[in-house]
């Protein structure tokens, strides 16, 4: 085990895969000479050369589509889209093409493509640069969407994504790059499509992914001192979605809160709430609650931005309301 940042885990994994498999190539804006907008690809151009670490023009539709075509011929392109906001320029290529080809062409071709892209707000980047658009892709059959929260999962899931034969949107988060965690030194192959109970608990389930998991764990630790036992489920994969792990947790705790950085309507929380009402209806002691961003183009000014984005305090408040609504007592437990 080595303690490293999420950024370092991504970098090391890219490097390891470039070394392991010649068909792996990196494409993206400013990933070579500039070493990446968030320095994930630092040093890789020097080590692997401009053919395998390829700077692209600012043309997301073009280079994402080109990566799809290269993948059809057996390459394993890993594309960095500077932020998920810019992926909209390539969404036709991802949704209408990458996600369709394997099924639409009768299984004759596959698209082993990885789109690495960070989402999320909170850095005063204003409305166009602070979005969480992963659900747009998670909605689409044929896509795989993963969203690791920890450096260890970043390594395991990026490895799995690169070796997977389907298009994978690999969601990163600006606020996670500097977070640290233990990462196994040996090769790790994550399981796309499986969630994890990252913290067992008894009284209430918090479901989240990506940065939300970090907040959820922080809140869970804080509430433990108050005698509340929170179970945190890290979805890790939005498509496929591991509904059973979520339902199993809620069947145990009877209370569920979904924390998402994204806007509320039609979001991951909506999907989880719908899943829970179907898979754990008889176990719910109160309606599922969602903690999600205010539905407004995110303002630049710090106080407005802070007000709009979900925080630990918001999560604590909703957990409190849910516990009150179910007459939670500290004597509870065991059942």
């Amino acid at each position: 085990m080595t303690v490293m940042t999420y950024r370092q885990a991504l970098h090391d994994t890219l490097r390891a895969e470039l070394q392991r498999d010649e068909s792996v190539i990196l494409l993206g804006e400013e990933i070579g000479v500039f070493e990446g907008s968030y320095k994930i690809t630092a040093g890789l151009l020097t080590e692997f050369g401009p053919a395998r670490v390829r700077d692209t023009p600012i043309a997301e539709e073009g280079f994402v589509g080109a990566a799809i075509g290269a993948a059809m011929l057996g390459m394993r392109p890993v594309v960095e889209i500077m932020t998920i906001n810019f992926s909209l320029l390539a969404i036709d290529q991802l949704v209408n093409h990458a996600a369709k080809m394997h099924a639409m062409f009768g299984g004759q071709v596959s698209v082993p493509l990885v789109i690495r892209t960070p989402g999320g707000g909170g850095q005063q980047l204003a409305a166009t640069h602070s979005q969480n658009l992963e659900v747009w892709y998670a909605h689409v059959p044929g896509m795989k969407v993963v969203a690791p929260a920890t450096p260890a999962d970043a390594k395991a899931l990026l490895t799995a994504a690169i070796r997977d034969d389907d298009p994978v949107l690999f969601l990163e988060n600006l606020a996670l790059y500097n977070t640290k965690g233990e990462v196994p030194d040996t090769e790790q192959l994550g399981r796309i499509g499986s969630a994890a109970v990252v913290r067992p608990g008894r009284d209430l389930t918090v479901v989240s992914y990506s940065r939300g998991v970090v907040i959820a764990l922080e809140v869970a630790n804080q509430l433990e001192r108050d005698g509340v036992s929170i179970e945190v489920v890290d979805l890790r994969s939005l498509r496929p979605l591991d509904r059973e792990t979520v339902c199993a947790s809620v069947r145990k705790s009877s209370r569920a809160v979904v924390l998402e950085d994204d806007w509320l309507s039609f979001g991951v929380g909506a999907e989880i709430a719908a899943t829970v009402q179907e898979g754990a209806f008889d176990y719910l002691d109160a309606p599922v609650r969602r903690v999600a961003a205010a539905e407004i183009p995110l303002p630049y000014a710090k106080p407005l931005e802070r007000a709009a984005l979900p925080s630990a305090a918001d999560l604590i408040r909703v957990i409190g309301e849910l516990l009150d609504a179910t007459r939670f007592t500290h004597a509870e437990g065991g059942s």
Binding site: S254, D282, D285, A325, T326, R327, T329, E332, G334, S335
Partner: protein
Amino acid sequence: MPEALMPRLSDTMTEGILVQWLKREGDQVSRGDVIAEVETDKATMEVEAYHSGVLTRIIAEPGSVVPIGQPIAVIGDAADADAVPASVNPVVAAAAPQSATAVSAPPGRAAVPATRTSRGTARSPLARSLARKYGLDLSRITGTGPGGRIVRADVEAAVSAQAGTRPAPGTPAPSRSTTRPPATTDSPDDERTPLSSIRRITAQRLAESAAAPHFYLTSVVDAGALLRLRADLNEALAGDGPKVSVTDVLIRACAITLRAHPEVGSSWAGEHIVRHGHVNIGSAVALEDGLIVPVVCDADRKSLAEIATEAHALTGRARAGKLTPGEFTGGTFTISNLGTYGVDHFTAVINPPEAAILAVGTAREEAVVRDGQLSVATTMKLTLTIDHRVLDGATAAAFLRDLVDLLEHPLRIVV
């Protein structure tokens, strides 16, 4: 056109049986008139008209079971009498077939028709499924969640009150068949009596009570002084209110003793024990088709005469099926006196969630040995049934000792 609806007449009522109409179709009714009588799960209650006009149509016939909020009659102008839309027909079922259904239906579904669900009483899905698991009737549980929603905590409290322990995971659900009558071979001589609401509730509550761990303490009280005091009082009060009964004296005596032993007047609430700030004494009244326990509230603060007057009125209303819900709920201790039936000794079943009940036998002359001398005394056997989850033997014994002492020195009862 205004409709008269099946009113909600108790906190746990989900439906009512229309007993009889006190007005006929075509009668003029004024707002506030009693137009019908309805039997709820607890009592027979009067239904008042909320509109003035003509009772143009009776929808619910006597004997029909109507969910609360469903129309039972139409009150309008006389001219409207023929213009009743078909859509106002309520979901009604005759009472007798319903209990027949309960007997023959497979457990789980048909026994609980959808129309029995009380609209407006929120239950969390978990509360519903726990209630199914433990065979509880949610309509008997008071919700403490938002808007009165019944949540898990409420059900578990009820389960605990019933079973004495927290429900352990994996505890097998009690079979529904335990609440079903045993299968019998019908003989031409047998008669099946449909359950009245009172009978159903009585059966259910007593079955709940039986699940609690009990123990019993019996003492013999020398009732001579007590009976003399009662006779003196009745003589002194002659014509001034009802006579003081032995039960009335016992109510007062228990109330005084309970004030000194408040733990005996506690309730089991699953997660905790509730020690009540009031002393409310119930006394069981036998009805033709069940049992009801009217309650004398704050009995420790009322004089014997007040208690006698109140208990007399309550008993009368209970026998007439006219008790209001407030009059038979909220007890903290119950007395069951079968002495008038000549019973020497019995044990009573606790009225949950109370922690104790006192069974009173008949007063009878007995040969007693006192100071080494054989003599004759009038004695009564008192048997205390105690919920062991709430009380231990020594606490209960101290209460009974003090009660016996008070009854044998009854002047303190009247002062």
